[in-house]
Assembly symmetry: D2
Homo-oligomer: 405 residues x 4
């Protein structure tokens, strides 16, 4: 690894990445550039500026990426109905490639030779950051302090912070025992009591949603309008992707929607327990399937269903910027041209219930054929006999052979 002169750090403004900023300056004797993004985590990003300045950082990038995140990452992924391992809506996974993309773009701009991040050596995020970065800037150097340093306990970190005059904010109230991550799509919790998969997390852990028990006793009805597989309006009102997600998070969270508690398989080879709140995402997945149910051809839908687990795995593992994810996306996007219409949902104490779907332009639901009543010849029931007979032919030939044995 050649000498590092300048490194762009994904900087949250929090204690850990502040320590990293200092450590990079000391350890590598290099200039540090910070990059802080608002991707809907729900915290102010501007305070990161003063903190960075206090550490002598000269080049400070602070950006609002919420629309890009929603439009170019979250929405395409929801066209795929992506769920990892039947449960996880990929909230953390989908944010990493965007951060990686901006890190290397900035690195090119400021002529840095390295990037750095605060992800640990046990998790998926290091993989997602670094695969994204390498795919876009193949000769970038990556510094992952958690894999290098010996500050491997809270105590050592605190000592380092104190020794280097890094402000340790004492947030009001108790410090969360959980490791958390948030963006427009979700907030996640790991660690603490969750390390025992038999233990139920206490109610106080959850931050974005009320418990179903505490949600309103009256349901909320909403309508979502789709164009080419993407939501373009809520209750008839056109909104940008990020606004839609923010609104759905609010409405969903208020109705106790989007909590998930699961054990997942990390790309690095271990199982880990995570809890997630994904109010908008939970609504979006259900609604997207509903609008597809009346507009998408059967075999297109089934092909999507068979490709989905692979797509989700690619996103989870950090292969967003890969030819294979792009190939799948091309197939999926091709199918979405006809996914236009409106879905009506009932939200009630944790439940997302589809109560209606319609599409003037693209509905393939043909009442005149499907009806239990007289269809006036729209469908010839006699066709079914030949259909069944030929579908059965191979099974009958094989059965005769077995009988003959």
């Amino acid at each position: 690894m050649s000498e590092i002169k300048k490194v762009v750090l994904a900087y949250s403004g929090g204690l850990d990445t502040s320590i990293i900023a200092k450590w990079l300056q000391d350890e590598y004797q290099c200039e540090v550039v910070t990059f802080t993004a608002d991707i809907g985590q729900g915290e102010e990003v501007e305070p990161a500026r003063a903190k960075a300045q206090a550490m002598g950082i000269k080049e400070i990038f602070i950006e609002d990426l919420r629309e890009e995140f929603a439009r170019d990452f979250v929405f395409p992924m929801f066209r795929a109905n992506a769920i990892y391992e039947g449960e996880y809506l990929l909230g953390t996974s989908i944010a990493r490639p965007l951060i990686a993309k901006r890190l290397v773009e900035i690195a090119k701009d400021v002529q840095a030779d390295a990037i750095s991040h605060g992800a640990t050596g046990k998790g998926n995020d290091q993989v997602r950051f670094e695969l994204g970065a390498y795919a876009l800037m193949p000769d970038v150097q990556v510094i992952a302090p958690w894999r290098e340093w010996d500050l491997n306990s809270r105590e050592k970190l605190m000592a380092y912070a104190e020794q280097h005059n890094i402000a340790i904010e004492n947030k009001k109230g108790k410090k969360s025992p959980y490791s958390m991550d948030a963006n427009l799509l979700h907030i996640s919790y790991e660690g603490g009591v969750l390390e025992d998969p038999w233990a139920e997390p206490e109610e106080s852990m959850w931050r974005w949603s009320v418990a179903p028990e505490n949600a309103p006793s009256e349901p909320t009805y909403i309508e979502l309008t789709y164009e080419k597989g993407d939501i373009v309006a809520l209750n008839g009102q056109a909104m940008s992707p990020a606004t839609i997600m923010a609104e759905l998070n609010k409405i969903g969270g208020a109705n106790g929607i989007g909590r998930d508690d699961l054990v997942e398989n990390r790309f690095v080879g271990m199982k880990s327990r995570g809890c997630y709140e994904t109010p908008a995402g939970t609504i979006m997945l259900k609604a997207h399937r509903a609008i597809e149910s009346i507009t998408l051809d059967r075999e297109a839908a089934h092909l999507k269903d068979e490709l989905m687990p692979r797509y989700a795995k690619l996103v989870y593992n950090g292969f967003w910027f890969s030819p294979e994810r792009e190939m799948l996306q091309a197939a999926i996007d091709h199918s979405q041209k006809v996914v236009n219409g409106v879905v009506r949902l009932k939200l009630y104490k944790g439940n997302v219930i589809v109560v209606g779907r319609k599409s003037e332009s693209d509905s393939l639901f043909d009442e005149s054929i499907a009806t239990f009543e007289d269809d006036k010849g729209a469908y010839n029931q006699k066709d079914a006999e030949g259909f069944i007979k030929l579908n059965a032919l191979r099974l009958r030939i094989a059965a005769r052979k077995r009988q003959a044995k």
Copy 2:
């Protein structure tokens, strides 16, 4: 088609199949044998005997197939986590092969040359019955009256019934406007207002579950014990498969669990709206995924996820008795040897929430590795660098080539 002498009819005891029994006698001048099965539909089957006798049927088969249904059909399917089109738990689909199997077994026993059923020419059930029958008795003849006769309206049917002295029961209260089908796994609703996919069904349609709104305001906690992927005990008490399902239907229904409202793609080529109540199934799917989450290898789980849509489609389309379904089952069953342990669930107003999973014998969740705390060397974070570097290699080589253009 050669002359029919004796036909075995799948006989529910209801008006439609009673008319079919009469019509077969008249039209084919053949002997009719009735077969009525209890597969957990929740209605008495014994009354079918007197009705059949009243029509002059001499050979009457009435059987309780609930355990066989749960053990040999529903449970193997749930090992696959099967869902059709992201929503449908295959409640009707999975019952048909069993009926087909018994129909042809009886046909062989009584030396009948044909079987008959009451499924229409527009639906999936005709396909499922007939594919099942042909696969097991390749030269059986199948009579599907709905594809043959001209009794294609309620009025004509009623006239036929009256004319032939077939008792039309006037069930107390209003007749349901829906076409329904029930067994241990679910009850389904089609037709009526559901033919408009934008219309929300009225609350009175649902029969097996209370509305989430009317479910208890206190959650119910249950524990399910798994052996080789199958539930063997509820709250620590060993039970047979059918008993478990009956119990979970009761508990789930009381907590507003298992309603689904969807538009599905039929094998015969049309879209159709259906509503389903699947209380036990909804709980079983969630719980099975949870026990797999700590006991199943990652790649085994992912392979199952990728094969699942195909498995579900095979069941939906009626290919239960096919070499390809059996091949998939062999792979799935192989994976389930280690799926042993206990899942704890919280049921609350429509929500099935996993709150704990454990497996003394087979948990692959290794706290010492996954921990956020010091792992004492169980996992070497430095390994991650090489892992990422080699996973990135192909992406980097390609990126360099693009840069050089």
Copy 3:
């Protein structure tokens, strides 16, 4: 089915479709329009005009579709490396959608209400013609005489021809005992002694290629230039798609290349024996894989390999004009942007041997990394340890659990 006034017939000019033309006029009392296409079958199409006129046909369409066939059907299919059941290069399958497309386009032009073809009721071609037609003109009526009439033996056909003054050409020499079909991609043989899958066909059956035994004893070397996955030049000389195929058929056939003898599974449910000569196709498949081997990303290539059997099945079954084939094509075509370069092949007595592949612009083969010699740090062998360790982690955890039992 409503009354037919005008029907467009896929007319080869041969005896069978001449009989059909007459039969349609008689049976349906309708006007018949003929459509005859040159898709490279190697016979003159112009003579069909006089024959049609002799039967009183007024609207006669004769078209040269060779370039459209090669460019829009064969070439896209070869981007997918499509092979059905590990052996069959889909020569017949890929021609049918084009014929169907032109049939319905002409039907619209001449305001016909029906189309007709000469495919039998046992084969795949009826399915391919009709699925194609329905997908493009959903309310077209299809007349498939072989499924309707009672001319089900050679004798009856001959009698009918004689009775209606249809000229029976006595081609010079012996009549082939095989049913044959030819186009730019292949010639096929079915029937005759081939109906016994244990019987080896006599050498005289084959028409497009010499036997390997009779091919030159000196190899032929050729170079094929690829752009975006398609061949654009042969031995450095730019050529149109159809010209390339014609040339490769000539060169391949002369070197004994492209014969195949197999038993395949038809969509209608039976197995059938077929023999095929596909000289150009056999060369193109091998060469395309070779150019992909140095230009395509590993995971893109593997995804293509996993999707290929499904793509081939769709083409075989006649679903060319379907959303699912188009989705797969979108994914495949996306991957081909980088498939540029040259492949060098040695053709010798039935063998197609790749002896070189290169791509100035897009080769991902990096000698400096792959070398067995000192790579000067291009690849860090130490990375492999971490790569292996983390790939092994889940296997080790599971093995420890098994040991503990």
Copy 4:
């Protein structure tokens, strides 16, 4: 890594692994146990004993594993019709897990705490050895000298050998410029001029087969008898798996069969050029597909085809001892119960031509249905109409919707 006391080395008897044996003794100050296996590489293994003794090795294992290799590794893989990237028959890949298995079994027997092998840090073999070992003995330590030492050139190795009195055999004749690996399934060549993928290897490289040009001008016909997907007899004579392979290598090689020249994608992320001779395997793959073509159900065959690339990738990447490979094997093996019969092949100058296949007990080829002649009602052509109509229904509904736009 804890202290190593005893290590089992995969020892070929050649220079490289002799140097490793010495280096391990010196570097780790540990006892070295050698393991040398005959897996059909075509060289004597017994001479390894004296060489090991000369270096002071006390525990020396020399084993003939040919039958186990053929029966438990090669044959199961050929049931899957496995080919990697459309070309490679996995000759090296399939041998590694067996060596890994014996290494750890011996390690357990002799109470060694580590294993060692001579694979480099750039290739797939290190991965295959180590994944296999970790899966069977999770806490084994692995020493991969090529990733550790600084003997990274031929010169340094020679110097080390000389310095430590390791005999450098001067094989008669010219030393091969290629890196080679051989076993019962194949011999492989890498390096040298092959590092340029545009260069054709000289004829003298190939060792197991004659050039097609030099093969006999008379074809050789053989018959292979299959039971449950495995070859059990050659030309009617029952033989053990390893014997069959040895015979087919001889016959195939004499007829110029089984050469392949390709660029493949390694698991570690780079492309590499390899040439292979796989005479028996090339014949076995073609023959297995042929016997399946008449005995295997269509959908079982298609499912196998879709799973095959994944299976091949697992074997290539070294995941033989993994739950997912075992799941796929369970599905594949389930399908092979009916794969019984005889295949007749013509071998001629590089060509493997199937000329007949038959199966008394399990042929699904039904001449009475498939015939072009009158089938006497075995198949009702009218069924095809309904079959096509319902297969087309979804396409027609969608086309109508598009028309209405």
